[in-house]
């Protein structure tokens, strides 16, 4: 249980670090990566929560029932990983288009100049 709590604290701090990156990084690319760090933190938290009562796969075997990992949470997080992946991919794709005009992708620069038509 002690081990679980330490791991949980670590994972939560990953989420907070991701959030801070999202708030304070200057480059759009790094902000997208920070968003990915944040969602990775949440994925790890789900995996951690699923393995709270055991780590075996929940299949019937000769050994009888042993403590198994929660398959529901893992199914949920599998969906969330796919969604998170597609969102990051889309954000990167569109920022490639933005990078034609703003090669450094500095957020401040974009915020200042996006109103002016190219």
């Amino acid at each position: 249980m002690h081990e679980q709590q330490i791991l949980r604290a670590l994972v939560l701090s990953v989420i907070v670090i991701g959030l801070f990156g999202l708030l304070f990084k200057r480059s759009l690319l790094l902000r997208i990566l920070a968003m990915d760090v944040m969602s990775t933190g949440i994925v790890s938290l789900f995996v951690l929560a699923a393995s709270r009562h055991g780590r075996r796969t929940p299949t019937v075997s000769a050994e009888g029932e042993a403590a198994y990992a929660d398959p529901v949470l893992q199914a949920v997080i599998l969906t969330a990983i796919v969604i998170g992946f597609s969102i990051i991919a889309l954000a990167l794709l569109k920022s490639m288009f933005l990078a034609r005009r703003f090669p450094t992708l500095e957020v401040d620069e974009i915020e200042k100049e996006w109103r002016e038509e190219e």
């Binding site: 959030l19 759009l28 949470l73 969102i87 569109k94 288009f97 915020e111 996006w114 109103r115």
Partner: protein, 472 residues
């Protein structure tokens, strides 16, 4: 029956995309289908429900509340599709429109946290594609901002979902009540971002103002409602969240009004009014769904009309006159939002104020006066006779016909209510003439809309809600 409005648009759009024909018809047909389903549920009061066998409360629910939203989705999609068909848009837009329609219907019928998370993200992605399809810098940047904000909100929501599952062993919305306070705060904050309510909704003015007119109509009309319906359901299930969400709703109402008075750009003014109206939807869970319907229809008409205006600057619009065929539907829609009798906005406002306790009723009346004052620049624009160019687009007029039909159907016909509504609108116009209108000449200090500020504001509200849930 319950799955038809979700699967038919999605499947038909993909199928027509493969055979390269008929794509333009898909949004119209699926809109008609959803309208049929929504009307049937509203008229007969049937409740459709389907649960996964042996599930963890994962299921879908189509009741009266959801039916209002499905009907709204149908009406706005129909209007947007017809409006764009007459402009001869390339088929890609119609594919996205049909996909958006299907996934929004999915959002409205989902009744558990897991389904909600998946379909809200799906709708977000499609809305993002719609916003950024122009590939101009403004579209790209505002699309990215939208994606960032909603992703942060949905990550909060996902975290909350985990905590709820750990506490109650299911994904039911009702299970949120058993969850630790942090979980409730996370879920509410995530939905507030999607719904554009209060400070988490500050991304909304820029996103909705800079998108194309038809996309703004879809975003303001329907897409923000995917965050509001779950909040309304949470209010009904969980007593102690009820008061907090209502307070946030009032906060949103007055924040939207405050921001709106400083805007000179008509689309930004409409977007600020959306923040304020989204708050209004949350202050009364019972009447909120009907209110959301009227607001969505009226706001879609306003945004669609704003695309045909010669300029976005309200001053220039006031100096020049506006084509009658564009202006009249816009003014009718604005009157409906302000609560003018004979239009459906009046019936919805009446339903809301009928069930509010006395003190909240006073606040709501003050908010209605503010709404009328906010919209008065649009109400006071002057008509010019119809010109031959540009071609007239009848979709906003159709939306107004829906509002008028609803207003006549729902009444109420009492003289007291009508006088009160007229007094509210008159007070709003007077207030605007007395000086509020001059506020538009001094713009707000720049910079509050920066991405990091909006994300930071969302985090602050999350902390505030957590405190509010802990204290009792």
């Amino acid at each position: 029956m319950i799955f038809l409005p979700v699967f038919i648009p999605l499947a038909a759009a993909l199928f027509c995309l493969m055979i390269h024909r008929g794509v333009r018809a898909v949004p119209v047909l699926s809109g008609l289908l959803s309208a049929g389903v929504g009307l049937q549920v509203l008229l007969t009061g049937t409740v459709y429900r389907a649960d996964l066998v042996g599930s963890f409360s994962v299921g879908v629910l189509l009741d009266k509340n959801a039916a209002w939203f499905v009907l709204l989705n149908a009406v706005v999609t129909l209007a947007a599709a017809l409006h764009e068909r007459s402009r001869g848009r390339p088929p890609y837009f119609f594919v996205l429109l049909a996909l958006l329609h299907g996934s929004l219907n999915a959002c409205f019928i989902s009744a558990d946290l897991l389904n909600l998370f998946v379909v809200i993200e799906l709708a977000t992605i499609i809305a993002f594609l719609l916003v950024s399809q122009g590939l101009k810098t403004r579209h790209l940047w505002n699309g990215l901002r939208y994606l960032f904000l909603s992703n942060v909100g949905m990550l909060f929501f996902l975290l909350g979902t985990l905590l709820v599952y750990e506490a109650s062993g299911s994904f039911a919305l009702a299970g949120v009540g058993e969850a630790p306070p942090t979980a409730r705060a996370l879920i509410v904050a995530g939905l507030l971002v999607k719904g554009g309510v209060f400070f988490p909704g500050l991304w909304l003015p820029q996103a909705h103002a800079e998108a194309e007119a038809v996309v703004s109509a879809l975003l303001s009309g329907v897409v923000i409602k995917i965050g509001l319906l779950p909040l309304i359901r949470l209010e009904a299930y969980i007593q102690d969240l009820d008061l907090i969400i209502r307070c946030l709703g009032f906060g949103g109402v007055f924040l939207g009004l405050f921001l709106g008075f400083f805007q000179r750009d008509i689309k930004r003014l409409l977007a600020c009014s959306t923040i304020s109206q989204a708050g209004f939807i949350l202050i009364s869970p019972e009447a909120g769904c009907a209110y959301a319907f009227t607001h969505g229809v009226a706001k879609a008409a306003l945004f669609l009309g704003s695309g045909s205006l010669p300029s976005r600057d309200l001053r220039q619009l006031r100096a020049a006159r506006v084509d009658r065929r564009t202006l009249v539907p816009m003014q009718a829609a604005a009157l409906s939002i302000a609560g003018c009798p004979l239009l459906m906005g009046f019936s919805a406002k009446y339903m809301v104020s009928a069930e509010l306790p006395a003190r909240m009723g006073l606040l709501a009346a003050a908010a209605s006066v503010g709404t009328a004052a906010l919209l008065s620049p649009i109400l006071l624009l002057r008509c010019a006779p119809a010109a031959a160019e540009p071609a007239w687009r009848p979709a906003p007029l159709g939306l107004c016909a829906v509002l008028l039909a609803g207003g006549i159907l729902f009444g109420p016909w009492g003289a007291a209510g009508m006088l009160k509504a007229a007094a509210v609108i008159g007070a709003g116009l007077l207030l605007s003439a007395a000086g509020l209108r001059k506020l538009a000449d001094r713009p707000l200090p720049d910079g509050w809309e920066k991405l990091e500020h909006v994300v930071g504001m969302t985090c602050l509200v999350l902390i505030l809600i957590t405190l509010a849930v802990y204290i009792p």
